[in-house]
Symmetry: C2
Subunit: 115 residues, 2 copies
């Protein structure tokens, strides 16, 4: 057994089943990274407003009552992780959700929480 902890294995069979099926660390990493991205008040609201309408940074800042800087920092994170994409037009940068997948996950979760 490659794992070590501060107590004995009580139910060999249960532990074996779980350890055998355990995905590799990278799988969990991706999963957790995605959850962390949407587990933040500002980012989840940004995703919500972008789901309603394409927006520039100032639009989002106004919608959320926050500064351009705070929004821009979070948009950078969302973009780096491919949840949003951007296009520049003159002085403005327009942001949109990157694909329907994000929209789906988001809307499903939202309708679920509302119950």
């Amino acid at each position: 057994m490659e794992y070590q902890c501060d107590c004995n294995i009580i139910h060999q069979d249960a532990v074996k089943i779980a350890v055998d099926k355990m995905p590799e660390e990278g799988t969990f990493d991706k999963l957790i990274n995605f959850y962390k991205l949407i587990a933040d008040s500002t980012r989840v609201k940004i995703l919500f407003v972008l789901d309603q309408h394409e927006m520039c940074v100032c639009d989002i800042a106004n919608s959320l009552g926050m500064t351009k800087s705070a929004i821009s920092h979070q948009l950078k994170l969302l973009k780096e992780n491919n949840l949003v994409k951007s296009k520049k037009e003159g002085k403005e940068v327009f942001y949109t959700l990157n694909d329907e997948h994000v929209t789906q996950v988001f809307e499903i979760s939202l309708s679920h929480v509302k119950e």
Copy 2:
């Protein structure tokens, strides 16, 4: 407009649509709270092993290679938020996922990340 930030509203229509549709704060709170719970390496692994098999604290600790204490702290959180439930049998406490809903969300997310 009740919101205030450090820049002017550029696209009135877009902002109005988003603000009008914005769910109340409590809705976001519930959503984020749920995402935060599953956005942690230890907790997501606990949910995974419990999805495979009912387990006591030592089984989980062994499966994850962590201490009983660390696991117990996280189990408390998961239980307080109704993601897992427990039953005591002698000295041992067995934990299981609380309902199919957790299982569903978890398995869907997992299969998605694997692609």
